[in-house]
Symmetry: C2
Subunit: 706 residues, 2 copies
Amino acid sequence: MTKKHNIILQPSGSRGQVEEGISIRSAARDLGVEIESICAENATCGKCMVLIEEGRFEKYNMDSRRENVSPVTNEEAAYFARRPKLLKDKGWEVGQVRLSCQCKIQGDVLINVPEESSGNKQIVRKSASNRAIEIKPSIRKYLVTMSPPNLERPIADWERLAKGLETSMGLVRRGEENLPRWSDFTVDYQCLRTLSSTLREAKWNVTVSVWQDKEVVQVQAGYHEDSYGTAVDIGSTTVALYLCNLRTGEMLAAESEMNPQIVYGEDVMSRIQYTIEHKDGLEKLHKAIIATLNKLLKQAVKTANMSLRAHFAKQSPDEEGEVASGKSAPRNDMKVEDILEMVLVGNSTMHHLLLNLHPKDLGLAPFVPAIHKSVDVKARELGLHINSAGNIHVLPTIASFVGADTSAMIVAEEPHKQDENWLLIDVGTNAELVLGNRKRLVCTSTPTGPALEGAHVEYGMRAAPGAMERIEINENTLEPRYKVIGVDGWNTDHVEFVGKVKGICGSAIIDGVAELFRAGIVDSRGKFNTKLSSKRIRKGESGWEYVIAWAEETSIGRDIPMTQQDVRQIQLAKAALFTAARTLLKRSGLESPDKIILAGGFGSYIDKEKAMLIGLIPDCVLDNVYAVGNAAGDGARIALLNVEKRREIESVARKVERFELPTDPEFQNQFMLATSFPHMSEPFPHIAHLIPNRVADPMAKNFMVK
Amino acid sequence: MTKKHNIILQPSGSRGQVEEGISIRSAARDLGVEIESICAENATCGKCMVLIEEGRFEKYNMDSRRENVSPVTNEEAAYFARRPKLLKDKGWEVGQVRLSCQCKIQGDVLINVPEESSGNKQIVRKSASNRAIEIKPSIRKYLVTMSPPNLERPIADWERLAKGLETSMGLVRRGEENLPRWSDFTVDYQCLRTLSSTLREAKWNVTVSVWQDKEVVQVQAGYHEDSYGTAVDIGSTTVALYLCNLRTGEMLAAESEMNPQIVYGEDVMSRIQYTIEHKDGLEKLHKAIIATLNKLLKQAVKTANMSLRAHFAKQSPDEEGEVASGKSAPRNDMKVEDILEMVLVGNSTMHHLLLNLHPKDLGLAPFVPAIHKSVDVKARELGLHINSAGNIHVLPTIASFVGADTSAMIVAEEPHKQDENWLLIDVGTNAELVLGNRKRLVCTSTPTGPALEGAHVEYGMRAAPGAMERIEINENTLEPRYKVIGVDGWNTDHVEFVGKVKGICGSAIIDGVAELFRAGIVDSRGKFNTKLSSKRIRKGESGWEYVIAWAEETSIGRDIPMTQQDVRQIQLAKAALFTAARTLLKRSGLESPDKIILAGGFGSYIDKEKAMLIGLIPDCVLDNVYAVGNAAGDGARIALLNVEKRREIESVARKVERFELPTDPEFQNQFMLATSFPHMSEPFPHIAHLIPNRVADPMAKNFMVK
């Protein structure tokens, strides 16, 4: 029987007995600790470095010695000789630091696996749950070294590569899962076209990029460790693209642009209309988004190269004797062709326009999308300028107006893994809502109108310098104060505010309506109390209004009021949102959600308390209301970096129950009730303290004037 | 327990007990008899018609009655009411003829399954073995009828179709194999693009074409039963395309054209050279073959439509009340878009040029192809004008110069399924040889030069009117006679021959050399016997020669001789071929093959006896030498019609052992010996009787002059 030895791996603390003579890397895997490697254990990549800790470890009753592992091999010595700066910077000496693929167990030993060698890489998502996300990209790279063909063995190039790849994959990922045999691999046709010349240029030493463990999509001469991918969130207004390193998860660039389709229609319905009315409408809208994505790709690569160059310039002079200067083009500049995958999300209309699918049936009852299932399509089919063999993955759509962006939100927040019932709301001109937990998820969508984004409000504007972003009204004096984007503090704090303000952005509109209600200026039905004595409450051109800023305070030379019409707009929007949430809660047999998660830019800027005060969101403990920013973009990034999440959302998206509001018999009735502040039939205990002039009357289930 | 009844199916004679109440179609399947259906058992396609035979069948001790099956349903009655002509032509009455998907077992019954209803369709290949080939195409069609979406169930178009397809597939092919679930289906991206509009135009009643049981590649409005595919053999000289009905196996058109690449080089080496010497060489050669294939596709569809129209004009006036005339465009004209698959074969160079893979490494030692494995690629990637979602399947290559045409030859002849050892030879400017049986196959290739095709022979020409195709020489008078293409009988038979002949084609060159040898005009080393007294044997411009036709017999006004140089050319060609065959036999431990199969046009035209006499092929019982014509084209057609044959050849091609002749240490020596007639070291008992002037000397293993 083979002798066994105790080994301990830090920092994980994994321990166990392993057979004498196996490599540290194999031993670690047997104990559940993955150590990186990309060179097929050839002692060339250095990814698998570990430290042999010497000493007596009483806790484990172990004497760990460098002599308890095999001596440094010539290959290891050669590797470390090429890395003097690394050793100096880290303060490591050869013998202490070892390549775990070469170093074999000969006795008890305590091994330290540095973070950079750990194969279980993670990124942390900052959200309602600060979850760690494991990096499991769809693209993996393997170094493949082949013997050149000769007359005795003139096997074809592809078969030679596939056999070499089988060996490298097996060596690098042994035991991890059922890896394919060489004859199961496929090769992208465009990649095959250049295979023969690349193999010969590379002298039969190449890095092979494999998609989903089966398809070879790139073959590069020599050794390359990093793969790149992009995640994209196509919003109706803004397109955001994130360029990531698929090995480390690091984000190398984040770029955004206006959605160019906006010139064909501001909202999705008008864009659908454009494709119906114009024969070349779809083609124009499709080409516009593709062009913008290609522009963003270029920008992102430029941004990434700037930081890569800086990194290279810092590292290189000492490493491998390379001379690098900022002027000469560094050899490791990345190109768009090095991007091997792209994951995209967007609402159903953006999804269709991206994929060049006609959206007309999304615009006509019963509003049916072409496909729910996720779509994988080659970049060249869409004319996207990543590597032409690269894959474009579009997340699944869930219902007519619950699109791939909602799928991405679910990926980011994982309501399907919770015991609590979470309510996810992505607010825009259309709102998508998902409610539930690990047992059941329900979803719906509702148009909220543009009011929540500051449009169709008399002095509404986008969140930009000069826009009011916060409003407060003193309930005794009925005097307001406000904050403006680009200036610190309240307008009442300093005189510099004079002449700065020019409109009201989305978050301040919620504030303003909430404060009008809280101060008693409008009643729970949204009607102005015309009996209050304040010169700010007046009859304007379009009815009653409340002046927040006098003309002299503004840059536009006109009074900026909130009008009866503005209040009505918000009432309609919040009624739609609230009714949708209520319907989902009712269908789930729930009184209220355990947690509310607000996704999207809007969710990040509004005052949660005020939103609850006007009944925009259901009553909930305020601490359990989270604004998580661009959850769709985060979800796209997670799906890019972890291929298992794609399989997960594919199955979750298929199971989410869809409620179409108009088919709910109580919808109209509920909607009417929901226009009131907060809601005619709901108790709002968590915000009752905000309303000094009123009390919550549990009997009437509503707020009454004192 | 359910009651059971005896049923007998004719003409197969299958019999057994089945449960009461199941349909005849299901019962037949349980007894191993497949009955066609394409309408998902909706009584609309009529493919599953069977006859209920009435009477007392003593042999089976059975009383078969129409009352022993369920009554004719309204749907059946409606179907037959639309087919009066069919019933009249066949002499069937309703009740006797039934739709087996509707008609249920209620007692003992004898059922006749007409050929047209049989689901196990076959075509017969005429070759060395008159085998039946089952039709199992990669494309299957299913009628899918869906309920339209509404607000209660607005599921996406693709998912609606996939669920309907799952149902139709299950109904149509129940029990046949593990069919995929709806969520496993994929859809070609270009097919997805038009899905929504097709479904609505078709009022949710479509025919879905599925590739390899998983990918939807075409969705057509309404009911369509036929799918089309093409098989192509790309020869260096000629491109042959066969358009087939994938359901019936019927060949609808066979078209051929010169390979347009011929202008860039007559043989493969000169075409490879062209791609090396010209930067745009590969592009030119690739585009040339693609353009020719597209031209052939168009021609084939035109040919097919002419016969389809004729068929339609004959059938339609009585059927379904349709009025059809030869003038109005009949609604069932097929289009190139209806062709859903294309299977191609060709030698390694043709394979590379078709796929736009650079062939330069095929032209330089060690002569390595880019890929052996079969290639599946979308038609649109290659610019081939079948349906853009259609698949292009290129058969595997086996070795450097043993290409996809040899794979196709193996598919057609199936040496890998024999107990006997077969030797397959495809002769062209290059010859490929495969030897073996079910246990082991070995292969090699050898350049034979252009002599065997009539080129580089002084008066050589292609097989065209005016070419000598047969030559005989009287061994006593040394006078010749010959046959000419386009004229009946021998030249000595009538005077009309005068002035017709203008050259010698490949088959006559073999004849001529064999007869020169048989008559003793050249010796076994190929040298002219200058001592013979005949005015036809003379010293010409380039050495000794034998005049076959005097100037006055020809249309060119010059004597047509066979020269020493011509004999040498044939000696070199036959030596190469013979050495290759000998090497394979030796490596396999065999003395001689049990059967010799000559593929290619050359094999069909030569005189087997004469070929053996000069040692072009090894000695073998003459009856066991078969000429099978274009086996590569046949193999391509079989692979098109039966997808299992593709999997089979993929695995066989991987196992064939490859011998590269130049690496054989004895090659040069063997080759020198093999230049003699028939062969210096071989006994040729089977052709000894042909040589009256000589005897076979078993001791010397050669022929001696008497």
